[in-house]
Amino acid sequence: MSIVLKDVSYVYMPGTPYERAAVRDVSLTVAPGEFVGIIGHTGSGKSTLVQHMNGLLRPTKGVVEVDGVNLAAKGEAARLARRKVGMVFQYPEHQLFEETVFDDVAFGPRNLGLDGDAVEERVRMALDFVGLDFAAFAKRSPFRLSGGQMRRVAIAGVVALRPAYLILDEPSAGLDPRGRDEIFAEVSRLHAATGTAVVLISHNMEEVARLVGRLVVMHDGAVSLDGPPREVFRRREALQAAGVDVPGVTALLGRLAARGLDVDDTALTVAEAATAIAAAVRRRGVC
């Protein structure tokens, strides 16, 4: 019971001069309830990879299974399996189209064939998760909201499908720091409250490091590192090769360690780093 990718490769426009392998022989498993971060340089194949997870792209080579069902298969089973995986694209607010926020969020549930009451319940739940007040927003036009609110409506539209796995591609791109913090807080609340597995693609190393239980680093279409954030961020050379930065505080601790301070350099947050530095300084007995 999980998303399993086996030796997946994907080639864009095969047979033309524009041919380009975006994903090369990637094998990856996302277990239910996991919180996985995917990081990598622009063009490293992150977005292409995750589009395989709900069958939007068919692998050129390899197999994708969701809860044991091959997504490439025809028929009802594969369709239901694809529905278990919700996908929030980059700039999801560009997909809004309905006259009211309610109708837009209800688009997915209605396509699932739910009746009026069940749809409304889903919409309430989804808007609640993204921090929008149902009474205040349901009847408004999605095109008259602020950028951050539009994005939340769009994310609610996917959350309303109640996927077992939720994929978010750069959900914070283009938002101000506050909007970014709010989106990440909502996603982790959703993860904690419902046990939905989350796959998060992000450039924001600090946030990813703090939120996820597992970090996958993509480089040139392949997985170069895969493990808990603390272990991944210890592999500085591999990260550098992949063109990925470590979080600022982790980088600072690394430099302190390189200068000879006996400090635990795996801290991921400012608070952890402060504790680690204080401990190291105390060990040295300077103050």
């Binding site: 426009m13 047979g15 033309t16 001069p17 589009q51 709900n54 939007l56 529905r83 995986v85 919700g86 996908m87 694209f89 999801p92 560009h94 997909q95 809004l96 189209f97 688009f107 997915g108 396509n111 699932l112 095109f143 539209g157 996917v158 499908l161």
Partner: protein, 269 residues
Amino acid sequence: MLTDITLGQYFPGSSFLHRLDPRTKLLGTIIFVAGIFLAESPAAYGLLAAFAAFGIVLSGVPVRLVLRSLRPLWFIILITVLIHVFSTPGTVIYALGPLTATMEGVRQGALMAARLVFLIAMSSLLTFTTSPIVLTDGIERLLNPFRRLGLPAHELAMMMTIALRFIPTLLEETDRIMKAQMARGADFTSGNIVKRARNMVPLLVPLFISAFRRADELAVAMEARCYRGGENRTRMKELRFAVRDGVAFAAVLALLAILGALKWNVPLS
């Protein structure tokens, strides 16, 4: 998915055809098309086919790709053939109610289909070997003499460049919105025509909004740079005719002459 469309897609290369001046290729294509309408005898069709085949070989574009550009238009070709088969008077070979297929119709239909295939193959060869930007540059230069008659040549070329520039962008956007809506359970492929049209709404509304947004942003960006059309602008790349352009012109004009000779029975020697 959608991004695999090839009609009008540039195929990078450095063949003889790629290096020709875009004006040569545009005029050459027009002359070739004129030649198609002069062709009547099997010999003329053979000559056209040979010329087109030679062009394709010379361009280095895979034949498969050229043939693929015919695909979106096969329906039109089929309809044309059917109309000819059933509407030309002559020896009846098959009757379907009031409709009769004739021997002459089959012949006429086949020739018409061949004409369409040549037409499409040659014009896609033009776009395969000429990047859209270079092509509009050529069009602008060809239209320049008409400026005195009040034709806004530069503005037209500019509009075409912008339109061409945004086709891939909008295709990508369409692809992305389609995927996003499909991930929410939208269905673009089944149901009757009314249902299908209604199912397009979740795709078309966001697409229009984004097209207008992009147009607006581009207009602002151009105004911010004080863009003001063609007056006194210099070019980074000047177009110049070379010897190879003369050779190409000679070839198509010779083709046209022979086709004309075949049509009006002028003795060739």
